[in-house]
Amino acid sequence: MIVVKGLSKKFKDVEAVKDISFTVNDGEIVGLLGENGAGKTTTLRMLATMLKPTKGTAFINDYSIIEEPQKVRKEIGILFGGEVGLYDRLTARENIEYFGKLNSMDEKDMKDSINELIDKFQMEEYIDRRVGKFSRGMKQRVAIARSIVHQPTVMLFDEPTTGLDVTAAKIVHDFILQCREEGKSIIFSSHSMQEVERLSDRIIIIHKGSIMDEGTIDYFKKKYEKDNMEDIFIQLVGEKR
């Protein structure tokens, strides 16, 4: 469960995130929708304790991101878009193990967890090969396995499908849905309306650091009397220009 309370972040002269509050329940997927520079990455980085909020706070399973960042990090798994973020010269297994160890897992739990992940993502063929020469799809699976090796209950995805082809994107989408099945609380950011509509239980529209509106797809369609989420988004964001 994620509870965000008045979270703000200011970089020198840019107010990247302005006083946002929302909640994500267990087993719920919340889509964070916004244009470039809306503040999505900044928000997720604050939740992941990489950035310190200027004001406000958030709680991950009741742990404060400010007071107990280490405990928060035990609860979260992240999958950020762009580079897959693997060490090319390590094997898939070594990559995953490294993060298991850094998350203070004991040897046995980690072995079990990795074996389970190998099965789940069909990686037996290449688990002991170096990542450098993998296809993007293979790398994607390794990165996903790496993000949940320590069995987090909260997942943060930042534009996880940017730069991926259809097959690789599907791997990620299936994974996000699977996480919901397992009862995890999930936030994922995107600027693809389609993706957000398909996956999210609830949508938060963020623009220039502020939340414009949030709710289910039905809520948006009723409130704005439009059938197309894209038009609704343009209307919301356009008003503020």
Binding site: F11, R45, A48, T49, M50, L51, K52, Q70, R73, K74, I76, I78, F80, G82, E83, V84, G85, L86, Y87, D88, R89, L90, E94, Y98, F99, K101, L102, N103, S104, R130, R146, S147, H150
Partner: protein, 396 residues
């Protein structure tokens, strides 16, 4: 297993699987000196060896009277007399190394104790010609000493009149080892400082900016590992690589002293470079400490950079700082000003120089060690500051 040692092991594994870093950190340092000094030695040999070859020195000589000195020169095995119509032109064109003109009546002038002249034509811009010039001069010098001796004997004067002062030299070190120590005290401090400053760079680039470029930094920062333990693991891995690089350099240097002694000046062959074990250990410790300072600085700068390329650009000046090691040529440890002991790097140079000369000055050692620990503290604090700054970690 502590987080620091997990990070340390992973980083070393990663580095040792990287051919690029291995080449830069081990292979090149190891081969640099043997190749460099190999060429230098060959060059030096090449320019001197012709002097020893039979008929290796081609000169022209005008000596119509077949004078005594002319015969002596001709009799040298390594000298070959060639014909020349215009000695000056031929020397200038490089066809001859030197030309000698002995005027008519030369022997007669000597016999009658009149002035006797020899003209030598040589190319003062050519190293070979200069060498031949001094070689011929030596022969003439020797000949003129013989004449002086003969004349004095004719006049019944003791030849010792020519040597009013006789010098006898004594040094605290045996002659050969004294030279070796001098060489060592000049070169070792300089080399070690350069190694310590440039050794950590290659791996620091990979372990700092590399994480950003690969996109591994964000997942790394969201593990339970604290930033300090990440920093320590990386710092120790970089220091280890720095030490390995220094060892590769030293190994290469030792090999090139064996394979190309000419490049180190004559006399190195027979000299001993042995250091007292005590000095060796202290020098090793100081070099490691200095490597740590540079390792922490390199890591701090590397994490600031956005990419490999940027990191390489920022880190190159660090190896220039190591060039301060050249001050070892100016520092005279036996009577240096203590101010040197308070100037970063210069103090390292000074203390290593002292140690190579067998001086153990406890006060000096204490001062330098205290400074070393201050530098390490400061540079780690700097790296720590950089690791904790959002502006640095997420610089865009």
């Amino acid at each position: 297993m502590s987080i620091t040692s997990i990070v340390y092991k992973k980083e070393l594994l990663d580095i040792f699987r990287d051919k690029k870093t291995l080449v830069a950190a081990i292979l090149i340092p190891f081969l640099l000196y043997p190749i460099m000094f190999g060429f230098m030695g060959k060059g030096i040999k090449g320019t001197t060896s012709f002097m020893e070859k039979e008929d290796g020195i081609e000169i022209a000589m005008i000596d119509n009277d077949d004078s005594e000195i002319g015969e002596i020169i001709k009799a040298q095995k390594n000298i070959k007399i060639k014909e020349s119509d215009n000695m000056l032109e031929d020397v200038k064109a490089g066809k001859l190394l030197l030309g000698i003109e002995i005027p008519q009546g030369f022997d007669e002038n000597i016999a009658t104790e009149q002035e006797a002249n020899i003209t030598i034509v040589f190319d003062n811009t050519s190293q070979k010609s200069n060498m031949v010039m001094s070689y011929i001069n030596e022969i003439i010098d020797q000949y003129s000493k013989d004449i002086v001796t003969r004349r004095l004997e004719n006049k019944k004067i003791d030849t010792n009149i020519l040597n009013p002062i006789n010098t006898v030299t004594k040094s605290p070190e045996k002659e050969e080892s004294g030279f070796g120590k001098l060489m060592l005290s000049l070169m070792l401090p300089m080399m070690l400082v350069i190694f310590a400053s440039s050794g950590p760079i290659a791996s620091a680039v990979d372990l700092g900016a590399g994480e950003k470029e690969r996109g591994t930094l964000e997942p790394l920062l969201t593990t339970q590992a604290s930033r300090m333990s990440l920093l320590w693991g990386k710092f120790l891995a970089i220091t280890t690589m720095g030490i390995i690089t220094s060892l590769a350099f030293i190994g290469g240097l030792a090999i090139s002293m064996k394979t190309s002694p000419e490049a180190f000046g004559y006399g190195v062959e027979g000299t001993t470079f042995a250091l007292e074990p005590k000095a060796l250990i202290i020098i090793a410790v100081i070099t490691i400490l200095l490597t740590m300072v540079f390792g922490a600085l390199a890591l701090a700068i590397s994490i600031y950079a956005r990419s490999f390329k940027e990191a390489q650009t920022y880190l190159t000046p660090l190896s220039f700082i190591g060039m301060i090691g050249f001050t070892s040529y100016f520092i005279e440890p036996k009577n240096m000003s203590t101010v040197f002991l308070h100037i970063p790097i210069v103090n390292t140079v000074a203390i290593i120089k002292e140690l190579t000369l067998g001086i153990f000055n406890i006060t000096h050692l204490a001062i330098v060690f205290i400074w070393m620990f201050i530098y390490i503290g400061l540079s780690i604090a700097f790296a720590r500051y950089m690791f904790s700054k959002e502006e640095v970690i997420f610089r865009t």
